[in-house]
Symmetry: none
Subunit: 216 residues, 4 copies
Amino acid sequence: MVSANQADRVALRREEILEEATRLFAAEGYARAKVDDVAARLRIAKGTVYRYFPTKEQLFLAAADRAMEGLQNAILSVTDPIDDPFEKLKTGVKAYLSFFDANLHLIEIFVHERAEFRDRKKPSFLTYSDKNITKFETLLAEMKKAGLVRDIDEKLAAETVANTLYGTVHMHFLRGSRKRLSRLAPQMIDIIFRGILTPAGTRANKASAARKAERK
Amino acid sequence: MVSANQADRVALRREEILEEATRLFAAEGYARAKVDDVAARLRIAKGTVYRYFPTKEQLFLAAADRAMEGLQNAILSVTDPIDDPFEKLKTGVKAYLSFFDANLHLIEIFVHERAEFRDRKKPSFLTYSDKNITKFETLLAEMKKAGLVRDIDEKLAAETVANTLYGTVHMHFLRGSRKRLSRLAPQMIDIIFRGILTPAGTRANKASAARKAERK
Amino acid sequence: MVSANQADRVALRREEILEEATRLFAAEGYARAKVDDVAARLRIAKGTVYRYFPTKEQLFLAAADRAMEGLQNAILSVTDPIDDPFEKLKTGVKAYLSFFDANLHLIEIFVHERAEFRDRKKPSFLTYSDKNITKFETLLAEMKKAGLVRDIDEKLAAETVANTLYGTVHMHFLRGSRKRLSRLAPQMIDIIFRGILTPAGTRANKASAARKAERK
Amino acid sequence: MVSANQADRVALRREEILEEATRLFAAEGYARAKVDDVAARLRIAKGTVYRYFPTKEQLFLAAADRAMEGLQNAILSVTDPIDDPFEKLKTGVKAYLSFFDANLHLIEIFVHERAEFRDRKKPSFLTYSDKNITKFETLLAEMKKAGLVRDIDEKLAAETVANTLYGTVHMHFLRGSRKRLSRLAPQMIDIIFRGILTPAGTRANKASAARKAERK
DNA sequence: CATGAATGAGTATTCATTCAT
DNA sequence: TATGAATGAATACTCATTCAT
């Protein structure tokens, strides 16, 4: 029991540090953020931070990984249970945008991960992103087979949609806009669907939307 | 005449410094790039760099502005002479992507401008970007009036397209892909047009493409 | 009985710590050796080390004292039973060299004791060394009285021999030589006892000195 | 001329820094000496020290090399002109001891060079030392050929004398004695040349050795 | 104008020591 | 007693900026 508590405490402290570090890195950028400040804000000693993360770099990278996991969970937890491909896609887009409505500052983390650790490793952002694109690609391939999506390269299409999402969040962030990102979801989905669906797909999409409305 | 030569020389040196600084900032990022190295690579003294740009920050910001001007010119110089709205749009998209095919490293500059100077000023990137979006928005409004674009919010649509472009270039960069960005133009345009055009617009687009093919 | 066992255990642990500390200090030097590592190698907690030695400095000094005691014992245990002054001396020299054949790394300890704790106290090395020199001096005085040693200052002579031994071990260590130190004993003893000159050489030396005196 | 002055100034400053660093390293030891203090004592900025010596380690090593050069010069400048082998040898011994009378603190440098940079390179001390021993060895070989030195291994003999010198200086330093080292020269030379025994002592020694051999 | 030597504020990291459990 | 998590003082090194020549 004691060791369980110990492990819990260790995990908890690790989490606290990561959370505060994320805040700081997001607010100040990698170079300007100081390990001292992470410790100071948590009212713990500098050395304690170093017990958990041996370098500033590893602290940052861990913070970036944690942030990406959060995004990943936010999306998968709502899309995984859904079977209807139209709804799955729309829900995914909304979840992506909503996540950044709640955590817009994390965009900084991703930007800095790339900016500061260019040569060092594939950004965790990309790792996760690629997973999602692959999933989306599979979905599109199935829809194409079912005649719901017109004859386009599903890999390129999946990437284009991902790029649009990524670009939308970035630009929104760059603008420092206060509006909610998720409000952009309907129009984005509208343009995307009009752009990729067959007439049959368009009908099926309307039917799907109708079913969903009924359920509520 | 002497002073004219002087002025030329000053402008030339300013340009040299900016060019080298751009290279370095793109390659190393703002924090890691050193003013010393800019000078060293140009075989001039550090103090000389400071004669032209009083701080590292201003040097960077000037480099970022210069980069954006390049992008802006690359786009406007080819789109401005075009009247046909379809062709104008397609050409703009291609020009945007082609610019980054030739200057992908500049993405780093834009990323760092945002990453390091968050609170200080509206990124020059955004300033230029907004100008283009406004132009595009006007174009869409005219097309809507002409019944070529369906009844969507042209501001949102213009932004979405800009976001897609921005996101595409970024992701391409993050991936470190060697392929040419401009090869993505046709599919992007295809999806965008299918997404925003009315049936009449689609017909007009085909006619426009045919005319262009004939000219060649 | 219990307390006796306790005391034994305490003494044992103290010894273990000292042994490991000696190894580490010898291998890394005082500044680079870490108390953490002493504990880690013994698989005990750092705090335990501090129960036995309240500071790193005291740990080091205790290690140095222990090392010197080892040298002292190694010499006295073989020389004390010997009466013949020649044999006593030769045996002592051999014992000194043999000790360092088996414990050459201890030289590091002595070096560091001096290097790091210059102002703090008379090095334990010197304390022990002086004892031996005094003994040796007494021996020489007796030999002089017996007409076995010529009319030289026995204190200086004793010191010179000690210096030679000390210097020999040090230099051997500095060289990182793998050869056995004790192999040097016979020649050292030979030179000490007889010097290096032939009778002719001795005469020539006197002549040389005379010439020089004249010149002045 | 300007560049000559420049070069002079650079060399001068390098020398100043090295001198002060030597003082500090000798007084505090490598680990305790602070680069900041070197700068502070010279009333220059820390960065300036780093312009001349890129790391503390290189500063120390340069100081050690410089110290050894000083010793080397002190010896060679007086022994090189001398032809008489006896005088050459005596003069060398005296020069060695006198050098440390004037620079006893340098012993610390040599001790620390060994203590701190054990694995990194052959101590400069040893490099120089070996040169001198080789010279001395050659001298002994010639004297042997001339019948002035008896039939002993001249390499071992040269090393023994070097060890004695080294040990003498070290021990003198360890003792913190205020007396002059060079006062020890005559007796050292006397013992080296003649040994310590009387003819009777030599006979007794042989008898002792014979007795011991018998016992075995 | 150009130079580059000098400056010194700023920071990541280490590790001896403490002390609550 | 033993533990090892937490502490925070201490320090090497960097680099933007200045300014005498």
